[in-house]
Amino acid sequence: MLEINNIDVHYGVIHALKGVSLKVNEGEIVVLIGANGAGKTTTLRTISGLKMPTGGTVLLNGADITNMSAQQRVKMGLSHVPEGRRIFAGLTVLENLELGAYLRRDKHEISKDLDMVYQRFPILRERRRQMAGTLSGGEQQMLAIGRALMSRPNILFLDEPSMGLAPLLVQEIFNIIQDINKAGTTVLLVEQNANMALQIADRAYVMETGSIVISGTGSELMKSDDIKKAYLGG
């Protein structure tokens, strides 16, 4: 469904991605792991159109979307939960969710999706009139995911959703990601928490300093000695 080929990205003189290729098939959960600064966030930003590559192509269902704006990509069903949540702190929970559906005009369907999000995250319904900035870290992460779901995406990108959350909450977030996937949304997940991420992954890629160095199914990678040493704590 989604394919990137030989992507190069530069920040000024910094060569952040060096010929990265990866593929996400419909219905999969694909995980991208790697050390700090490896280029995981940059990869997601390139796919969702927030950063333009200096080389390579991005294909969605076979169509070349490399030069499309972020706006067009959202319309085509791509949705991005950015690193660090980036909720709209000064707006209410409900306003945040409404902004997630910004490009949609089908009012009736939007309110259905709002119900769906509230069902998945009951706490958000309770707090819908509260300023998003006053939510706890875990609630903010749920809001960020809920907001991304409001565009009714075919494929969802999540950038380190477990960042800064307590273990119990991390487990909950991972369960939710699996649920979302089962409900029909393809998932590309960036994680530092390699152990748990690989457990829910259909396939996974490992990045190091701007390149993909290993790829395979989730269970293959969990067994690999290199991975165990580098990312799973022995």
Binding site: S48, L50, S69, A70, Q71, R73, V74, K75, S79, H80, P82, R86, I87, F88, A89, G90, L91, E95, E98, L99, G100, Y102, L103, R147, A148, S151
Partner: protein, 313 residues
């Protein structure tokens, strides 16, 4: 409906006071200043308070509206000339705003502030050196068409247009840019477009304010539109509350009243004025209104709060 009655009453009362000569001379000038400052502050609030783009260029846009309107009414000294002058002045300011906004609004925070400051200075220097604007000596004897009716119409019009814009989906998009530009972009919001739109609308309104200024005070020179004028407007916006229209209106009225009251202490006027500003910012760092709006429901809540308190005593 209640709003409409309130507006009608305000208009009628002031109009009667003017006709019965209760508001004359100095008071009338204060009234004009208040209205012009409301237009300036509300439109800068759209750019800075709602869209989150720190601009120091409002005086520049104001001067464009002022000079264009002055030059037109001096050649066509009729009410039609005046209306044409206001319109073309505002359009010219909007055009410059759009042209300047396209490249500069990619900049962030303090860089944008410096870029807009630079633009405003360039505009001032252009007016200073042009033949048609009579350079540093300025334009004198601009026909005076501004009366309370025009002032009221343009002020209320500006406030209504901007507050409706903010309540619309477009306004929501602008606010999301202020809250988090990257997240806004990820939601599919065209952030550059909305920054330019808000900058252009802001410039348009500043142009109207300039045109009204020219036509009431019938004298213009480039020095009136220096850096300090932009800062004055920014002070009103910050004092009223970034992201509060009613705050901007309240602050514009309050500051004009304070400064006219302080006229009786000419030597220490600016010191007292500054002290007042400092005091307000210490006690209300978020501005008088924060990002909240006054609405009639707030008043009724407040009133019922008072009642229930009294009930308990």
């Amino acid at each position: 409906m209640k709003k409409l009655i309130g507006l009608g009453l305000t208009y009628a009362i002031v109009q009667i006071l003017i006709m019965t000569n209760a508001i004359t001379g100095y008071l009338q000038a204060t009234l004009v200043t208040i209205c012009i400052n409301i237009i300036l502050a509300v439109s800068l609030n759209l750019i800075t308070g709602f869209t989150g783009q720190f601009s120091l260029g409002h005086a520049g846009f104001m001067s464009i509206g002022a000079y264009v309107c002055a030059l037109i009414t001096m050649r066509v000294p009729t009410v039609y000339g005046f209306i044409l002058g206001v319109l073309l002045g505002a359009l010219a300011a909007a055009l410059v705003g759009c042209l300047v906004g396209l490249p500069t609004l990619r900049l962030r925070g303090d860089y944008l502030a410096i870029a807009t400051l630079g633009m405003s200075e360039i505009i001032r220097i252009i007016f200073l050196n042009m033949e048609i604007t009579n350079g540093a000596a300025g334009l004198n004897g601009i026909p005076q068409f501004v009366n309370w009716t025009w002032l009221f119409t343009f002020t209320v019009g500006t406030v209504l247009v901007i507050s409706n814009f903010i309540k619309s989906a477009h306004g929501r998009a602008c606010i999301s840019i202020r809250e988090d530009e990257i997240a806004a972009e990820a939601m599919g919001i065209n952030t550059i477009k909305y920054k330019v739109v808000s900058f252009t609308i802001g410039a348009f309104c500043a142009g109207i304010a300039g045109a009204l200024y020219a036509s009431y005070f019938y004298f213009l020179k480039p020095d009136l539109f220096g850096f300090l004028k932009s800062v004055d407007v920014l002070v009103i916006v910050v004092l009223g509350g970034l992201g509060s229209i009613s705050g901007s209106i309240l602050a514009a009225i309050l500051l004009a009243l304070i400064s006219s009251y302080l006229q009786s202490f000419p030597e220490i006027r600016m010191i007292l004025y500054s002290l007042t500003l400092i005091a307000i910012m210490i006690f209300r760092p978020q501005g008088l209104m924060g990002s909240k709006e006054i609405s009639l429901s707030v008043f009724s809540k407040w009133a019922s709060g008072l009642k229930s308190k009294r009930g308990r005593v």
